[in-house]
């Protein structure tokens, strides 16, 4: 039997849980971002080995959930990203630790200008057969 993967056990379930927010949700970094968008990307350090024993892989996984909205008018964009952040925080599944939300920054992605903030979360993963 194929061993479980981080994509199937953690990233995809997280993206699925985020599916109810008003935005495009990606469990990976997409080639192009269509705002409003929520993107699950690895944080650094990505995997932290905190538990004893090495016969089975138990690891803490750190993610950044990048929340992006179109940057047109500053006050409206800030309001939009705040609302999107709150809706993301509301649907993060149990078993996750939300540590902080970084300040929003204006970022050029391809042809679009986006207002992006990073939500830092972590969870624990045990590889199963």
């Amino acid at each position: 039997m194929t061993a479980s993967t981080i994509l199937s056990q953690v990233r995809q379930p997280l993206a699925t849980a985020l599916g109810s927010v008003a935005g495009n949700v990606y469990s990976f970094v997409p080639e192009s971002v269509i705002p409003p968008a929520v993107v699950v990307v690895p944080d650094s350090p990505y995997l932290e080995l905190e538990t004893i024993n090495k016969t089975t892989i138990h690891t803490k996984i750190n993610f950044t959930i990048s929340v992006a909205v179109a940057y047109n008018s500053n006050p409206a964009s800030l309001d939009n990203i705040e609302q999107l952040i709150l809706s993301v925080l509301a649907v993060i599944p149990s078993g996750y630790v939300v540590s902080s939300v970084e300040r929003p920054t204006v970022t050029q992605v391809g042809a679009s200008t986006l207002l992006i903030a990073d939500v830092r979360v972590s969870t624990y993963y045990t590889q199963t057969a």
Binding site: T51, I52, N53, T55, S99
Partner: protein, 135 residues
């Protein structure tokens, strides 16, 4: 010859009851101590070990609510059978195994808003009995 380094990740740990403790434990330390009395005689110091004791420090991620929860198993043991020993097998690294009985203690419950809930135990080792197997 290369220097040997073993880490906490080399440890394996099991309980009677078979709960999956290795997925939760972040720190496991067995301490065995002697109570050595020192006597000042006319000939100089004389020593006598009058007792041997032990303790087992275990820190782990709380797993309340999980199927086969370690926290719930130990809480129940402390509630229903506080004088019944739990046998623990700790292998420090391949070839160094320690088997010892501990008495159950209650886990702590709760945590801070920003961190994973954790639990710390200091189990007394019954009679300080540790059976070691070195191979």
């Amino acid at each position: 010859m290369a220097t040997t380094v073993i880490t906490g990740r080399d440890i394996s740990l099991s309980f009677t009851g078979g709960t999956d403790i290795e997925a939760q434990a972040t720190n496991a330390v067995l301490t065995k101590e002697v109570d050595r009395q020192t006597y000042q005689t006319l000939d100089g110091e004389a020593y006598k070990v009058v007792n041997v004791s032990g303790s087992f420090q275990l820190d782990m991620l709380a797993d309340w609510g999980k199927a086969n929860s370690v926290c719930e198993a130990i809480w129940t043991a402390a509630d229903t059978a506080p004088n019944t020993e739990i046998s623990i097998t700790l292998t420090s690294a391949t070839g160094a195994q320690f088997v010892f009985p501990v008495l159950p203690v209650y886990p702590t419950v709760g945590g801070s808003g920003v961190d994973a809930q954790t639990v710390s135990f200091t189990f007394p080792v019954a009679r300080g009995e540790v059976t070691e197997t070195f191979s």
